[in-house]
Symmetry: C3
Subunit: 194 residues, 3 copies
């Protein structure tokens, strides 16, 4: 009898511990729509900061090792491939530094300080199954690349994403970018979502 | 004694199983602020894709069977009612297809390709109690309906939402849309949120 | 033996109950990335509604008692300090009420109804450890303060946030606001995120 109850104690303790651990706030272990979506939203936002501030190393770290960035007109695979491909399209980091305040009269010729461009993501739709997610979202871009540094919206489009969980971390496996300011990159006229 | 410990075993096993199941990643069972908010954000984003791509069947599926869409100037109830009402306001799907690239000189008269309009949601506030949620959020719209297909912001406003969970799925029970480009639809000058 | 099994019953029941409660949808108890992020996103959105609708009491309630709002050019500490400082910069609430519809011909002089301004948050990045979070996000502002009440984007920038959980509620401990339309407030040219 003593033996039996001791065994029971073990079995029940294990069951209880399983219950406890399945709820513990360990991000790499929790898997639910809310937890996964939160991690993926964070990834998508970090991607934007890295892109707009020219931080290519962080940018490519949001992709899997063999991840694909497809901007329709061009397509790169792998972190090095993306870094080189995108790097060639972007102004060299640091070249566009802030200038001294312009106190002359010809403000239209000399800008007051460096220009910036900012990508934003919205309307994030995610279908998640286990370690695989399919995403759709809108993006839009604003910038102030004019002498007055006046903010203006200048383009928009949408993303089609494949996102995977690798060693507990969500990463882009493939991001396709449609741009509705370019006839060739405009994307579908059918709902690309569900 | 043997009987007692067997009963104990059953009771405790049941308790442990309840614990396990209450944590299982079954989206229809989990109910917490984070899980519910994630599902509702997804709903709100799917609504936008369906609206902008003229997918009225998917659009009305984001409402309950007797759901209400109130754009202040007009108001429709039920999926069929919303589909008919909104359908009459939208350009027929497919009529605005991409045109061949315009290579002539008079680019101002013939657009290069179809125009698009994109609604975006931001600043989502949600108060959730059980299967009922009350929402507030901002919306803004951009489009490129000009010969150059130049992106431009053209309107904004806010939503007041009632959202309910039906058979494990969050759906709009009522969405009211305030539009700050229309004197009659401009909405409150007091904080509509909390 | 009877005593032992009764003790066991108690221990195991307690273990099971702990498991149950650790999963219960009690927002103040749950702590996981998804739950915390959901609460913080809600806070960030409520802040925007309160700001744009001139609801200063709600606005300052999104900060801790000794919270700091640093708009780089100016900096205020404490709820009263923020309320007074920000209040002096904003038009008095209610002074900008909707006017009667303008039916005269000189529409350029008399606006049709009150103007509004709307701040939006996007690209929210959050690093959360226990009751402390560090945040980065983009913001952009649109308004219609012109006679035609035409919507236009007018400024953008980014936030650096310190957010803490006090008595189960996430609040801003410090928000710093960078504004890329002001040479002095433009912020870093290195990625402020990770």
């Amino acid at each position: 009898m003593r033996k039996l109850t001791t065994e029971m104690f073990c079995v029940l303790t294990v069951l209880s511990m399983i219950s406890l651990f399945s709820c513990a706030p360990d991000d790499t272990n929790i898997s639910s729509y809310g937890e996964d979506r939160a991690q993926i939203e964070n990834l998508q936002a970090r991607y934007m900061f890295a892109l707009d501030f020219g931080d290519l190393d962080t940018f490519v770290s949001t992709f899997t090792e063999d991840g694909v960035l497809d901007i329709i007109g061009m397509k790169w695979q792998g972190r090095e491939g993306i870094k080189n491909g995108l790097g060639n399209m972007m102004p060299p980091v640091g070249e566009d530094k802030p200038e001294a305040l312009n106190t002359s009269d010809d403000k239209e010729e000399k800008p007051l300080y460096r220009a910036t461009g900012r990508h934003n993501i919205s309307n994030i739709v995610l279908k998640i199954e286990g370690d695989n997610a399919v995403g759709r979202a809108y993006w839009f871009h604003m910038g102030n690349g004019n002498p007055e540094r006046k903010a203006a919206l200048d383009s928009y489009g949408y993303y089609e994403d494949e996102i995977v969980k690798v060693n507990g971390q969500w990463l882009f496996k493939k991001r396709s970018i449609y741009n509705e300011q370019m006839a060739e990159w405009i994307g579908s006229d059918k709902n690309p979502c569900w």
